[in-house]
Amino acid sequence: MVDTRPFLPVSSHAGSDPTGPSENRRKPMKLQLSIFFVLLTVGFFAALLTSNNGSDNGFVKENEHGSLASPSSEKQLRPVSRGPAVGVSEKSNRLFAKDNENQLAYPWNNSMLSWQRTAFHFQPEKNWMNDPNGPLFYKGWYHFFYQYNPHAAVWGDIVWGHAVSKDLIHWLHLPLAMVADQWYDKNGVWTGSATILPDGKVVMLYTGSTTENVQVQNLAYPADHSDPLLINWVKYSGNPVLVPPPGILDKDFRDPTTAWLTSEGKWRITIGSKINKTGIALVYDTKDFINYELLDGVLHAVPRTGMWECVDFFPVSKTEENGLDTSVNGPSVKHVVKASLDDDRHDYYSIGTYHEKNGTWIPDEPKIDVGIGLRYDYGIYYAAKTFYDQNKNRRVLWGWIGESDSEAADMQKGWASVQSIPRTILFDKKIGTHLLQWPVEEIESLRLKSYEFNQVKVQAGSVVPLDVGPATQLDIIAEFEIDKEALEKTTGSNVTFSCSSSGGTIERGALGPFGLLVLADDSLSEQTPVYFYIAKGSDGKLKTFFCNDQSRSSVASDVNKRIYGNLVPVLEGEKLSLRVLVDHSIVESFAQGGRTVITSRVYPTKAIYGAAKLFLFNNATEASVSASLRIWQMNSAFIRPYPNNKESQ
């Protein structure tokens, strides 16, 4: 027990003073000491209290930012009850999943693994890739940059890969465009976008992770603007040009967009971030890409969506069938805001109106705002980015397609990830709330032999083989008509349907599922169904769902087995239409002209090489369907390094 007596002021009460009258002479000194110590104490507590508010101390900030503060955070991980819609990367879906067979992780052999490599989707020769970066068209070449790990088939040590093409399909690999050689990008040369200036010059803004792991924005530009291949890049000597502003955490500031012009002649960009769990897009204006002015407020914010990565912002024409330069604005124009949500690894977009004066954007339908409404793709698809292709007057979309097998298999095969086939983006005039995505027309240059099937009838509960020869590289265009009588006669019900919570194709309804079985072997022990499911409500209204069932695509147990998909709006008089690109371990499917799109990765062990076949199927209980199809064998795109003798292609 501490002796506090020396600090006590001597009481003037005779009765309570134990030390007696001799203390009286020391009273003034003791009083001064006491006051001194009191002030010290008060000052001490005051310092403690103020340090708890807004200090640079990371620990304290963490508490303030609410990600820990609320014990009832919906991000709690619980083993079995976690649904696919909530949170984490899709791979975690397998974490606590029961495996049906008492099997090992699949013993992948080289034959199975090498089959998985795609023939006409962009991928580097080996190792890991993720986000598309700075796509652009320049001096006759389409340029594509990408997040790349030069050392392994997993994420890490990220630098910028580079490739060029004349037609967005036949790519030639070039040397790495940028590596982590500066303090401001030492820990990662991350995602960025290109802006083409009116004089034709290119500037690139990208995120760097500094030696202190702070996310900053940097400026880079081609070393030689007369080089059509844009091989060498120079980083601005005064980098970084942007650091996290007050109120934004060091690790919540990344992926700057392409810039667009304001009516004042300034350039404007947006960068995604978050405040607590509200996803936001910050807005900056600049005249020179070096000095920036942060606008008050944000372009847009949506609560509970978490960090917005790879934000994209672009105009679409309400009337014309072409793309628009990013700076275009006007009455016949709508603006799209897109964000990649860190929390659920999905890309969301919403259509709305841009208010130029204060740099804000309002969604047309708040119910389908960014992050809570429509997705570009209901399968595995992330970090997407568009660019305006001035060569063909279209807006083109790139998207990163990761793997859904195990990391161990990725390491064994030596690579991970592909890019989707670039897609054109158009406003869906007929629906008004959706965008239409479609593979760029240049992909048709890969078409070889074609097969046509007219009005093939598929009875309820049957499978029809389609003889098209080898079935691992295909472009399929199909139309389905469902028996009208069955549509009318079927009794509706209140039961709600969703692709992801359904039993896949084994769950039979009156009016579905029906569609295609791709990458299926003869015995159908492995199959990847791409299909429609029509549900009739108790009010008689029909709802059409478009799904991709990955759960039976492979007998291997260490691959994802999800059922992807969503509602697809079908208008009166529209036939059900489908386009499917099959390219080994990737299947991209487009319903109703690209109104709803699903990309999935599949890893069959038997339905590979010559054993892979194509079928029509109809697992409905009441309706028969008839299908008309055109199917092409697809050539390889022969994606390879740029030849040394400088000849193109």
Binding site: K91, A152, G306, E407
Partner: protein
């Protein structure tokens, strides 16, 4: 009046002295380091393992979530490396071909965990792109799982305990990194 004043002064002085005798920092007065560990571990599927793993590292008092994630991955790395050594040692003396095969598979999985999954998680947490960290840790758990399944039809599972710890700790790390999203 004097009594009140002296009492107040006594009170202040007492607090000050008490406070000056305990080694504290501004951090801990706001919320103790132990609290942070407990609150964070409540959000993981294996609370007790989480608490004991994190608290066994002195850095955990006063760490923020990112710090705890880093401590967790360090612990996981140590445990996985030790288990890999265990497997290698067992392989040297194993005679039963089925046992050897199962052990060899586990060696492959643990190689993946130590060489790839954990470094990815570490890099993702330090550099601030946590989703890759969640993936790395989740993959580690899946690989430990796969290793365990190889012993399902075996009479003995010599590394049962360490494998379980690696699996569970991976799940814990995945949950903690998830909080950084």
């Amino acid at each position: 009046m004097n009594n009140t004043v002296s009492f107040a002064l006594l009170h202040f002085a007492f607090c000050f002295t008490l406070v000056s005798f305990t080694p504290i920092s501004a951090l801990e007065l706001h919320g103790t380091g132990a609290n942070m560990v407990e609150t964070t571990c409540q959000k993981t599927p294996f609370y007790n393992l989480c608490v004991s793993a994190l608290k066994s590292d002195p850095r955990s008092s006063g760490a923020n979530v990112a710090g705890l994630a880093q401590i967790g991955t360090d612990k996981l790395k140590a445990k996985a490396t030790a288990t890999l050594r265990q497997i290698t040692a067992l392989l040297k003396v194993a005679k039963d071909p089925k046992l050897k095969m199962a052990l060899r598979d586990c060696a492959d999985y643990y190689n993946a965990i130590v060489k790839y999954d954990i470094p990815v998680a570490v890099e993702a947490v330090t550099k601030g792109d946590p989703k890759f960290g969640v993936e790395g840790a989740t993959d580690a758990a899946n690989e430990a799982d796969a290793c365990g399944r190889g012993f399902k039809n075996q009479p003995k599972f010599p590394i049962y305990a360490s494998n379980k710890v690696v699996h569970d700790l991976s799940a814990v790390v995945a949950s903690i990194v998830q909080l950084l999203l």
